[in-house]
C-alpha cells in the first residue's frame, strides 16, 4: 500500500503498524511524535495502530529553535 510520510510517497506492507514504520525508518528507539491524518497517535498506541492505504503520516522531533 502507499502512504505519504513527511510529505513524500512511501510503499509499505498492508497493515503496517506505526511502530513497524518507525522501526523501518530508523526511528524505533528515538524520541519522536507521530501524527496520522492530522491526529496524534500516542506512543502507547504505536504497536497497535495499523496504517491504511493513503494515510498521511508525520514523524517529528525536537531541533534547535528560538
Amino acid at each position: 500500500m502507499h502512504i505519504t510520510l513527511n510529505g513524500s510517497p512511501r510503499d509499505c506492507a498492508t497493515a503496517t503498524t506505526v511502530a513497524q514504520l518507525l522501526q523501518d525508518a530508523g526511528y524505533g528507539a528515538r524520541r519522536v511524535a507521530v501524527e496520522v491524518n492530522r491526529e496524534i497517535v500516542p506512543r502507547s498506541l504505536h504497536t497497535s495502530h495499523e496504517l491504511a492505504d493513503g494515510d498521511q503520516v508525520e514523524i517529528v522531533h525536537a531541533i534547535g529553535g528560538g
Binding site: 525508518a25 508525520e58 517529528v60 522531533h61 525536537a62 534547535g64 529553535g65
Partner: protein
C-alpha cells in the same frame, strides 16, 4: 539541576512554577550541540526553547538529538511554534510537542504574519491562544508590543505575555520602551521580552524597565563567541533586575554635587 545559585528571594514564577533564572534562551543557530549546551550553561538558563520539525527520513537516525544535549530532566523545555503562519498549524505543532515531551503543557506560541518582518499575526495568535488554553496548555505567547493586545492575551489565560523589543533576529534592541512600560504596569502575568535584543545593555534595559525576563537566541548564538556572550547576558539580566528593584534616581537636567559643600577650604 544546574550548579548555580537559586535566587529563592526573587524567582520568576510562570504557571505556578519558580525559576531561578530570568534569562530564557533559544537553541537555534549554534554550530553544534556541544556549543548549544555550553552557551546554555553559561547563560544559566532554566527555560530553553526548541522547535518541532519533521525528521529527515533516509538520513542517519542515530545522529545525536537536541534532547541528548539538553535533557528534559535538567531544563524546562519550551517548544515553540516557529514557522507557523496560522492558528491551525500552531495548535497542531503544540499537540505534537505535547506528545513528543510526554504530556508537557508549557509552550511558546508564535504565529507569524510575514517572512520579511516576522512580526506576529495577532489575529491568528489570539485564535490559537484561545484554543490552546481551552485544551489545557500553559501558553507563553509571543506578540507585538501593543498594550491592549497584551492585556487581551492575559485575559484569555496565557501564563506569560512576551512582546517583541524589535523584529526577531534584528538585534536592534528595545525600540519602544514606553509601550513595554505600559504593558508591564498593567500585567498580572510575567512579561518577558522576546526577540530583538542585540547585546547585553539591551537586556539590562528590558530588565530595568521591569520586565520579568528576557528570551533571546540570535544575540547569543550569532555572537563571535556565543559562550562569552551568554555569560554577558546572564550578568546583564541580573544587573538590570537588581537596578529595577533598587529603584533608579530620577533624571535631572542640572548637576547635583556628590560631595558636601560645607567645609570646603579657601
Amino acid at each position: 539541576m544546574n550548579t548555580k545559585t537559586f535566587d529563592t528571594a526573587d524567582p520568576l514564577v510562570i504557571a505556578g512554577k519558580s525559576y531561578g533564572s530570568r534569562l530564557l534562551t533559544g537553541t537555534g543557530k549554534y554550530k553544534d550541540f556541544d556549543e548549544t549546551r555550553r552557551a546554555t550553561q553559561a547563560a544559566g538558563a532554566d527555560i530553553v526553547t526548541l522547535a518541532i520539525r519533521r525528521v529527515n527520513i533516509g538520513q542517519d537516525a542515530s545522529q545525536p538529538n537536541l534532547l541528548d544535549a539538553l535533557p528534559p530532566e535538567e531544563f524546562t523545555l519550551l517548544p515553540n511554534t516557529a514557522g507557523c503562519y496560522n492558528a491551525v498549524d500552531a495548535v497542531r505543532t503544540c499537540k505534537l510537542a505535547r506528545e513528543l515531551l510526554d504530556g508537557h503543557k508549557l509552550v511558546k506560541l508564535e504565529v507569524l504574519g510575514d517572512q520579511r518582518t516576522l512580526f506576529p499575526d495577532v489575529v491568528e495568535t489570539l485564535k490559537a491562544a484561545e484554543t490552546l488554553v481551552a485544551d489545557g496548555f500553559d501558553v507563553m505567547v509571543y506578540t507585538s508590543d501593543d498594550p491592549i493586545l497584551a492585556k487581551r492575551l492575559e485575559e484569555i489565560g496565557c501564563v506569560a505575555v512576551m512582546p517583541l523589543a524589535a523584529p526577531i533576529g534584528s538585534g536592534l534592541g528595545i525600540q519602544n520602551r514606553y509601550n513595554l512600560l505600559e504593558i508591564i504596569e498593567n500585567a498580572k502575568v510575567p512579561i518577558i521580552v522576546d526577540a530583538g535584543v542585540g547585546t547585553a545593555s539591551d537586556a539590562a534595559i528590558a530588565m530595568e524597565l521591569g520586565c520579568d525576563g528576557v528570551l533571546m537566541n540570535t544575540a547569543i548564538a550569532g555572537a563571535k563567541d556565543p559562550v562569552l556572550m551568554a555569560h554577558a547576558m546572564k550578568l546583564a539580566i541580573e544587573a538590570g533586575r537588581a537596578a529595577f528593584k533598587a529603584g533608579r534616581i530620577p533624571r535631572k537636567r542640572f548637576a547635583s554635587a556628590s560631595s558636601p559643600i560645607d567645609g570646603t577650604i579657601g
